[in-house]
Symmetry: C2
Subunit: 434 residues, 2 copies
């Protein structure tokens, strides 16, 4: 049994505890929690509930199709897609706890979406974005404190997402195994080209000079660190707490003869030591948690030399809101996309100067369209590796992320910073686009 | 008597209350507050004090030359410039309250700087920047609450700086009278070219379409509003509370036949009404005060349509520190350069998405070099309009600002934002540099 296979089972056990009403029911029709007298009164209640539910979401143009074929479309617009509930119990559960239950019911195949999944989810995001802010939402933002990603907890969280199998990620990531937003310098670019463009764009933003030293925080499968050493003549120390990614990256470094200039270290960002000219971190800050940003900043302050600079790319949001509980529990434990304000905790206490912030959310939406397409093309293979529920859960996660970036619920911040007073930098950005 | 002449007198009265030890003293040598026995003990005390003073500033490479020609240069490095104290009383005053007294003593000619004034001031900024952060400084930042720029107070503050005479600003600003950082797309650009480049750069970042409406907050002498109407085919409403700037801008609009498409309104940002496609504000936020940013943001939320976007350019800083008291009292009452974190108060409560932040501090340093050069070339004319003290005060202010940008103590943030979920935007910045 390969380590990946073990991880696969761990994923299934931890992420999807058996539901109480029994997935294993042979008939395939779960025992409803709510009695189902097909009477008019019940229908009236459900219609009322569905209407109220959709109004609470600021009336997105979506409809519901119930288990008996009846349709509810309270929106004034024609629905762009419909949720098809396969049984009454699922309908009630989703109405009462949609944030968690919708994802679970979708994964279990107890409901379907008739229409394009991304379009459906984007419609929901856009309706929510257009809703006026409420005082209760503002209050909740004020109370928000983020996740507790301790040293041990962080390792466990990362293991649950990234160590479920390199073979799985190979099916739908690009050849370089980059699992963060690409850069479509040209909209028609392939995913491989856009990921390569992203790496070079990041390196250009750091105006690296041969012989410099770079520390990478969260190196994934190693593509950026290897490219830095190969194409930019720098030496790299790349930190990661995903064991299987580190193993993969070390194999690549050895195979390419770069292992003398790239060191992959299995350790937490809090334990980074040494002094470097530049720091880079792509798609890792999301796993740190806002309450640890000062600690992250302290590490940067400790590790960057007097002319040090850095680039941090992170999924972000416009206002602090908690991660959707389904994503948090089933897909990405411990993840939190920061606001720009929260990100300033990385820089301000250490007097770093922020030089450049670029919001690349539309590039991440495009990246996710590519991933989703590749994922669908390999859905049969994924089902063999895991099960049908896993396929549906990841489809929803990828489509939901795509919709969130396309609809503006998620941002992608690429932030360049430097020690205060460093003047040996290009005075305009023009050469990034030359 | 022209209104400008009146303003000139108001400036002299308000900004420079007569010092207690008597500027009008005929002999030119003020009565020292401290007795001057030219004994060794006094010299030892003064040497100790100067050394302590410079160490407290983290030992910048500067020296002191005392009234009797003796020199104190405690720095290990050769001094890049020397402060020449013309009398003992001035030395003691500057040692005891440098933030305010240095500027006053320099303005009064009671001390001089031997060497390049910008180089001297930059050395001080760089030494301070290299100093480790102290807990007391961190505490002070925590207590910082910013200025009280009420409706009435703001008008008075703006009047004191901007209404001291168009003729004065004409002597050293570019022909378009732009009093904010230029954009040196090419380092060799003239000031006129760089100011024009700045205006077009700002317009390109707003991806304006002909027929759209733009609101400008703090329009100065009107150059941007006129260019928007002339070259970008939009209609503009430009707000300002500087009466003499508004009068100037209206004359230009009429002369150029643009008065049907550009309206200059003499009113506070808090009173802006109407609905616009875009908002622009250059070098005005510095006068708002951090505690009013939510109010500023509320105005933006009220005034921007569903696909609205905006650009705000403001002097900024890496950590919240109060404006130097001399600048605050003598030059720019009510001014405060925000941190990026403070600026998020403009956007986050209204769910605006920040799309782009560019730090252009080196461009402002270059702009100030041009201004200072032109100012020096017109120093005789300025002295005729005001007096020698005014010339020295403004020389110190311009040189000090240049040094602060060059040394990294001040930043220049240009922030582009939009309503959440606006996708009809260029996906890369490449066309800004095409």
């Amino acid at each position: 049994m390969s380590p990946n296979r073990q991880s696969t089972r761990a994923w299934a056990r931890k992420s999807h505890p058996p539901l109480r009403h029994g997935v294993k029911d042979a008939s395939g029709r779960p025992k409803p929690l709510v009695p189902a007298p097909a009477d008019h009164r019940m229908w009236a209640v459900e219609r009322w509930l569905a209407g109220r539910f959709l109004r609470a979401m600021n009336s997105p143009p979506i409809g519901f199709v119930l288990w008996d074929g009846r349709e509810i479309s309270p929106s004034a617009q024609a629905p762009v897609a419909r949720v098809v509930f396969h049984d009454r119990a699922t309908f009630w559960k989703v109405m009462l706890d949609p944030d968690l239950r919708f994802g679970d019911a979708y994964s279990d195949g107890r409901l379907d979406v008739a229409g394009d999944l991304v379009v459906f989810l984007e419609a929901i995001h856009r309706a929510r974005a257009a809703a006026p802010d409420t005082w209760s939402a503002a209050l909740l933002r004020g109370l928000h404190r983020g996740q507790a990603n301790t040293l041990h907890g962080a390792r466990d969280n990362i293991h649950r997402h990234y160590d479920i199998g390199d073979d799985f990620y190979r099916l739908w990531l690009d050849g370089e195994m980059l699992y963060s937003g690409a850069y479509f310098a040209d909209a028609a670019m392939t995913l491989e080209d856009a990921q390569r463009a992203k790496l070079h764009y990041v390196c250009r933003k750091l105006w690296l000079r041969p012989g410099e030293t770079v520390v990478e925080v969260g190196g994934g499968w190693g593509a950026l660190a290897l490219l830095l050493a190969r194409d930019y003549g720098v030496t790299v120390k790349s930190f990661n707490i995903s064991r299987s990614q580190i193993a993969w990256a070390r194999r690549r470094a050895k195979a390419e003869g770069l292992d003398s200039r790239v060191e992959f270290v299995e350790d937490d960002y809090r334990n980074i030591t040494g002094r470097f000219d530049a720091l880079v971190s792509l798609g890792m800050l999301e796993h740190v948690g806002a309450r640890y940003y000062r600690e992250f900043g302290r590490m940067m302050d400790r590790c960057l030399g007097p002319t040090g600079r850095g680039l941090i790319q992170s999924i972000g949001q416009d206002q602090p809101t908690n991660t959707n509980p389904w994503i948090e529990r089933r897909i990405f434990p411990g993840a939190y996309p920061p606001t720009l304000r929260e990100m300033t905790d990385l820089f301000e206490p250490w007097r770093f100067s922020v030089l450049d912030v670029e919001n690349l959310r539309l590039h991440y939406a495009q990246t996710l369209r590519h991933w989703l397409q590749r994922f669908e093309a390999s859905a049969g293979r994924v089902a063999e590796m895991f099960d049908a529920r896993f396929v549906r859960a990841w489809r929803l996660y990828l489509a939901g992320s795509c919709a969130a970036f396309a609809g503006g619920a998620l941002q992608l911040f690429q932030v360049v910073f430097a020690r205060q007073g460093v003047n040996d930098i290009p005075s305009t950005r023009a050469r990034l686009y030359a």
